[in-house]
């Protein structure tokens, strides 16, 4: 099934964030592969019935993070996976989330092995493409 963006107004997550999360997830799970085209800002806005500025904002952030790239005159495509952040920066972004998970897990009374098991289950559900051969600069 081809990748199709969907949005849900009225949720706690703003529409531009929903678009970013969906594209990131589709790339991470292989539903979108490097080189796959994305609809233009205008086309996506008209399909989703949202303000084009909202789509442009989402695409802007995805481009800055190296998830998608614009090829002048051709449109927007999923980028070749490359790490634009250093390992230190990636850790800086991941650690607060890991802390939040651990704190919440412990305060809810889960044991360490239960939290680890749960993480493994969630990772398995994402069907990450093998091998995760990303290079670290």
């Amino acid at each position: 099934m081809p990748f199709e963006l969907t949005i849900l107004p009225g949720s706690g997550s703003p529409i531009f964030r929903q678009i970013i999360d969906q594209v990131r997830l589709a790339v991470a799970t292989g539903r979108l592969a490097p080189g796959d085209p994305l609809p233009s800002v205008r086309a996506a806005a008209e399909r989703l019935l949202v303000n084009p500025n909202t789509v442009a904002k989402a695409y802007g952030e995805l481009t800055r993070d190296g998830v998608i790239e614009s090829q002048p005159g051709r449109g927007l495509f999923v980028a070749q996976p490359r790490q634009i952040y250093t390992k230190a920066e990636r850790l800086r972004r991941l650690m607060p989330l890991a802390d939040a998970l651990v704190h919440e897990g412990v305060s809810l009374g889960f044991a360490s092995n239960e939290i680890l098991e749960f993480l493994e289950q969630r990772l398995a559900r994402m069907n990450l493409p093998e091998p995760a051969r990303r290079k670290t600069p």
Partner: protein
């Protein structure tokens, strides 16, 4: 060309001794889709009518497409499209007559766009406006306004009373307007899911006072909600700056706060809760928090339960 489609400075209107709009100041950037929100009777229509020169301000001023709203020239009026509340139309006129009447006021007229919109609503050119359903009237008044390709589209509660299909078409029409670079939409609405889709700026009028005017994302970041749990009955929220809404339910307290600062977080932790958790907030939640009564608040459901009604 000025960057603002509309600039409002201290705009005020009294009806007798009653203040309908109290010293409002805000700016509608050119090319934006700007939603003015507020409860019924908060002054939205009064504001809209002043901007169009249909109602004289008591004090203050507004510039619309670079001209004073009290003295809009015919040329400038020809660049503004207005969809009035309830989609009033001249009932005895037929669709095709309304089109030729309306186009006589505008320098440019996109007849194909007019036809496309009325086709979309299943309207017959020979039908009389007075015999149309509410949804069809909305479609006709949209067609009459869109066909002039206005630089500024002003709509007063355009989705009122529309069925979901007609509302969807209204959204499509608004997205269509954004295709024309630099064209601006200023509208009032109560349908916040639709506002979230199309608006990039929101303003909130609360009992005649303009409380917010900001890009939608900035507004959403500035209104936050925390849930606090206590060992015993939840205490009163006390004096937290920016508190919009406090709901107490047994051992839990839910606080919605505008413009939180590090001081806010300190105040929250001083309440002595067992746990504090930030909760995601929809645009509608944030707007309702602004429009409700300040401070401590119970839902109707809690109130009736405690009073033993029902």
């Amino acid at each position: 060309m000025s960057e603002a489609a509309i600039e409002v400075r201290g705009l005020t209107r009294f009806f007798g001794g009653k203040c309908a709009v109290d010293q409002a100041s805000f700016c509608v950037p050119r090319g934006s889709v700007f939603a003015l929100l507020g409860r019924n009777g908060s002054g939205k229509s009064t504001m809209t009518r002043m901007l169009l020169g249909l109602l004289e301000p008591t004090r203050g001023s507004a510039t619309v497409l670079g001209e004073d709203c009290r003295n809009l020239s015919p040329a400038t009026r020809g660049r503004i499209g207005y969809v009035a509340e309830g989609h009033p139309l001249i009932g005895w006129m037929r669709v095709r007559d309304l089109e030729s009447f309306q186009r006589s006021f505008y320098r440019q007229w996109d007849g194909r766009l007019f036809q496309a919109v009325i086709d979309h609503f299943g309207l017959d050119r020979k039908a009389k406006a007075g015999n149309l359903s509410r949804g069809q009237r909305a479609g006709l008044s949209l067609a009459l306004v869109l066909a002039a390709r206005p630089e500024l589209l002003v709509m007063d509660d355009p989705s009122m009373g529309l069925d979901p299909v007609a509302r969807r078409t209204l959204l499509e029409a608004m997205i269509l307007v954004t295709r024309d670079a630099g064209h601006t939409i200023f509208f009032t609405s109560h349908v916040l899911d639709d506002v979230e889709r199309v608006a990039d700026h929101v303003a909130i009028l609360d009992r005649s006072v303009l409380r917010v005017s900001a890009p939608v994302e900035v507004f959403r970041q500035r209104v936050r909600r925390w849930a606090l749990n206590f060992a015993g009955p939840a205490p009163s929220a006390g004096d937290i700056p920016g508190l919009l809404e406090a709901r107490r339910d047994g051992q839990s307290l839910r606080l919605t706060i505008a413009n939180p600062s590090p001081q806010t977080e300190r105040s929250l932790s001083e309440l002595g809760a067992l746990g504090i958790e930030e909760q995601p907030l929809s645009l509608e939640d944030a707007v309702v928090a602004y429009l409700g009564d300040r401070g401590q608040r119970q839902s109707l459901l809690q109130q009736t339960q405690e009073a033993g009604v029902l």
